[in-house]
Subunit: 211 residues, 2 copies
Amino acid sequence: MKMSHRSLPDKTIERLSQYRRNLLICLSQGKHHIFSHEIALIHHITPVQVRRDLMLIGYSGTLRKGYDVKELIDLIGLILDTEEGLKVAIVGIGNLGRSLIGYFSGKRSKLNIVAGFDNNPDKIGKIYAGVHCYSSERMQEIIVEEEISIAIITVPADNAAIVAERLVMAGIKGILNFSPKPLNVPPHVYLEEIDMITSLEKVAYYVKKQL
Amino acid sequence: MKMSHRSLPDKTIERLSQYRRNLLICLSQGKHHIFSHEIALIHHITPVQVRRDLMLIGYSGTLRKGYDVKELIDLIGLILDTEEGLKVAIVGIGNLGRSLIGYFSGKRSKLNIVAGFDNNPDKIGKIYAGVHCYSSERMQEIIVEEEISIAIITVPADNAAIVAERLVMAGIKGILNFSPKPLNVPPHVYLEEIDMITSLEKVAYYVKKQL
């Protein structure tokens, strides 16, 4: 089993994460082997694409039985996860922030939300689904102390830039931004943005075209 | 002003939505003209990209003053919006569903969430941020009656497929899916998927590569 994933394409990373999620379901249903065309069917892509992705991570199945589900899950884990896991903070404990804490909790054992931050005195000191909410003023201190490397931003657009700046200063290495404001981060910080309003407007555009 | 947006690229649609959001901010700050390099700076892309997008929708500024902000907002509106707006339903009034109702409310006047659906008897009949929660059993009836064309799915993965099927049967034309399950919809229904777990795992992958 060769490990040649030095520079996997962005889209392959996304698909590996998605494959794993469905492979875990397969395994829980007692399915131990799977063919590329079965994986392809679940994800609405071609079997060639699946085989190409898995070849990129140095994995090949057997012609007769396909891929070993457990082995493949473990291999994807070696690529996506760190052994000890990574710690995540969430900045902005509004409705969206709270729902994300609930959403992510327990879904990925290797990614743990360990702290929340907010300015609202009513929220500071409270526990949300097991996650302690700290004052935003303590951001740097807690991030360093807890060795948090990833932050999720759910603050309003106006505050997003200053929050991102402070996260970077505190040593955060990766940011998932839900605020509808494009952020500026230095090249050593990985930024992923989820733009929910644009996604909805895109759906609307295609619906409109069909009217 | 030529309108030649028959088949705009997917990415152009996304950027038009993002441009408009920031142009609205500019306008509210009293800025009435903007250059392509200023738009480019906000969105971290090249001025060439901005000019190409705006050329695709048949708009060009003047060399001296740049683009007219108000005109550009209106033109993007002509492309993305329908005159009377589109109605949106949200299926799954859990934490995520409720936070999305709050999040989208008032953000886009042309896209209105007019109904929520859930199975939970405690939620049925309640109003969440102005949105009535109906029993999922009434999905078809309400969608037809209210002429709802877009649905947001926030139900757990296990229920997503059956919900999508029922939405399609009810005549929904576009779906924004937040459930971590790839959905199958017929070609005439536009599907956009937001996979939050994969986005977070992708951030973690790039953070790990730097450790």
